[in-house]
Symmetry: C2
Subunit: 461 residues, 2 copies
């Protein structure tokens, strides 16, 4: 007998304020994964979720990885399909802190503007999104005493730090992660009214370069014009990474990159997403990457290189006539199709080293890399989820690729043989990774309802 | 009747410990001029010197400028030559603080190694150097009740911040600064045993560039490859500033730059200062500037461009997939001969602006600039000072140009018609502008004796 859905949806509506209270409690824990000073808080965030899921009736545990622990929760349902839901409890750093209107770990509802918003670090990425699934499970369990499908929930704590330790943990725990399909809630809507299923993701390779020239900071009056300057060396490397047409110049970089098929290009063109429409909301007008391509094409089907941070020399107020001893930059690549992050690491390091003067030195740190992934278009769970989303939102769900990386999706395919449905309710203006991150109250509420519907739909798929 | 010199030198030897105590008291005041948080401390440092000079018998006052105040002290001597001594009480910022072995404003004598050193921010640049002159005056006054020449002392508080406010103050106080020659103690020795008179100085032009692209920080997964990245824009600007031969590419940059005469080049070659000898002590081997020129030539007779600082995006531990909204760099130029800083400002700003995408913006801040200056080789005071230095050090004083800038020297010539003798006792390894700045105890002691001799010699010049 199929569980009834309407009581579940009604319960979600009725219990919204309590759902928010639960989310707020989780958001108050500053679980920043990239800064070791916050390691204890990451552990607290894991424990909070363990407590929550245990109370709902999941068999839950907090398990160690080489970095922050994962939360694993099971609720099997013999004879029914089984889903593996993934999300992360860790959040991005909050700097620059002075640009936050209110403290990042004091969540609040912002009622200014034309919609209510949950404002906090992690509100959208990813605690708010994770709780849409958890609250959908809660409502099913409250109304029907059971879930429509078997569910395993895996919530990690190092997604913003390259999912360090997670692939090894997944590989060692394959038997406990068996499922028919994986679900991830860490992506966005097409727009405020239109749901979206993300069917492909770019991969990521992330490096840090530290160039050292003289063995101490120098006075630029005494040495300027004669001594090597690491900021010059670094700037040359960065400038050399792109040619005048915006293409990445690393040898072999575009190996394994396929041109999108003409029909897909046509579909993208028909969306009417001009550079002005795409970039206007962030104060820009012209695409900065490869010339002659649409913004959506650049983001969904083309690789990219961005310097995510740079520092060297005197950066305080006023002037200092110094030649720094050291300068460093963080450089990342978005990968598509068959680009190989390991091959890229070798090419990139060689590219950097050949641009460093013989009497200077460079350290190239390689953080975790991941390949791009894509979903088979004919999987039955995709159709089921699309129907469920259409029922909730009154619009067809758009199926598109995304520019960001969720490394675990490639690992699920490789290690568990699982395809992943990427369904999320974030909006482009959520300011994830920026000050004043927010999640629309509508995203949270209708996102929870969406998962309730999807769980029911997957039972029949 | 000429004052006796030997008792003065003996008094300097005898009172060395007390001289050091006085210097230490001044060094304890953190008079960082480029950071407005230290403005009060700058004022304290001025007051301390006012007290000291008043006690010695100078008519002393602290006078306002548009930034930090100057200290002005007079002791006229009718019928005798009159000198104007200049120095600065302000010091460089201390970052990176964690590289200091002991706190920068807790001066101490370091007896490790083969010489005793005064270690503190400002020990060499410029409080230690200023006090060599003040202590020489003290000894003359103590032993003879008078100075050999009339003396005006002008100590400013914004030298490390482009001498902001000083030229205007000098111009408004011309009558009070009348003298026959200016003396500056803010330069170095040729080497540990050989005194030096600096006969030319490079000029300085200092800028800050702030590039803004999107109106907020972006997620590099969503926008990477489509949105402009200010670090890329900035790196391109910096990389474009030099060509492959190390020459500055700004249009007209080398206008007004003269090639050194062959006899000077020959003299430089005879010094045997190879790239290895010049750069070895700072851990480098090959000159980084214009190809095919000696290091001493690059530093004394050629202009240069250095980026003194750069910052943008995420610079903390680990990774953050962000495209920054803004990135900034501090860029300075060393000028020679007839290069015009005002013309350079126009060229530089145009060069920067044409490299910023149309939908991004840039702010170019111009800090104070100064032209290069050079001394007439036949001035009688130069010969007198050379003889006095030779008597103290047992070696002829080398007369050379220097790479650094002391903007006031150009202003003294322009506003007061004064030529300046640049005599200092710093060493190349004093780490001025770096952590663990030091001043050799020998520099302080024999420097004081040198000024005592020079004051006597100038009375006869």
């Amino acid at each position: 007998m199929a569980d009834a859905l309407d009581p579940v949806l009604n319960d979600i509506d009725r219990d919204l304020d309590n759902s928010l209270e639960r989310l707020f409690a989780w958001l108050r824990i500053p679980s920043i994964s990239t800064d070791s000073a916050y390691a204890g808080h990451c552990r607290e965030a894991a424990r909070w979720l363990e407590g929550n899921l245990t109370a709902l009736g999941f068999e839950t545990s907090v398990e160690e990885t080489s970095l922050h622990p994962v939360v694993l929760a099971h609720r099997p349902k013999p004879g029914a399909p089984h889903v593996l839901f993934y999300g992360h409890y860790d959040v991005q750093p909050v700097d620059p802190l002075d640009l936050w209107t209110t403290p990042p770990f004091e969540p609040r509802i912002d009622e200014t503007g034309d919609s209510k918003k949950i404002v906090a670090r992690g509100a959208s990425d990813d605690k708010g999104q994770v709780m849409t699934f958890v609250e959908a499970c809660r409502a099913h369990l409250a109304m029907n005493g059971d879930l429509p499908v078997g569910v395993t929930i895996l919530i990690e704590g190092a997604e913003e730090n390259g999912s360090q330790g997670l692939p090894e943990w997944v590989e060692a725990n394959r038997e406990r992660l068996k499922a028919d399909v994986a679900l991830v809630c860490d992506t966005g809507m097409w727009d405020r009214e239109t749901p979206q299923i993300t069917t492909s993701l770019r991969g990521l390779a992330y490096y840090e370069i530290k160039v050292t020239c003289a063995d101490r900071d120098l006075h630029s009056g005494f040495f300027g014009g004669a001594a090597a300057n690491p900021i010059h060396v670094l700037s040359r490397i960065i400038a050399d990474l792109h040619d005048a047409d915006g293409r990445v110049t690393l040898p072999g970089f575009y190996d394994g990159v396929r041109e999108p098929p003409p029909e897909l290009l046509e579909q993208w063109r028909s969306l009417g997403l001009t550079p002005e429409k795409f970039l206007g909301p962030i104060g820009l007008k012209q695409p900065a990457g490869e010339r002659g391509r649409l913004p959506i094409e650049l983001i969904q089907s083309r690789p990219a290189c961005d310097v995510n941070g740079i520092i060297g020399g005197y950066t305080g107020e006023g002037t200092k006539t110094v030649i720094a001893s050291q300068a460093s930059a963080k450089v990342s690549f978005r990968l598509v199709d068959d680009q190989d992050p390991d091959q890229l690491s070798r090419t990139f390091e060689a590219f950097v080293r050949e641009r460093v003067p013989a009497d200077c030195s460079v350290e190239v740190i390689c953080y975790k890399g991941s390949r791009a992934v894509a979903l088979p278009y004919d999987m039955p769970q995709l159709a089921a989820a699309q129907a469920a989303l259409a029922a909730e939102w009154g619009r067809e769900a758009v199926a598109v690729g995304a520019g960001g990386s969720i490394p675990i999706v490639g690992d699920f395919k490789r290690l568990l043989g699982l395809d992943t449905l990427l369904i999320g309710f974030g909006l482009d203006d959520d300011r994830i990774h920026s000050p004043n991150e927010k999640y629309e109250l509508t995203s949270f509420h209708k996102g929870t309802r969406s998962w309730a519907r999807i769980l029911s739909a997957l039972a029949a798929a």
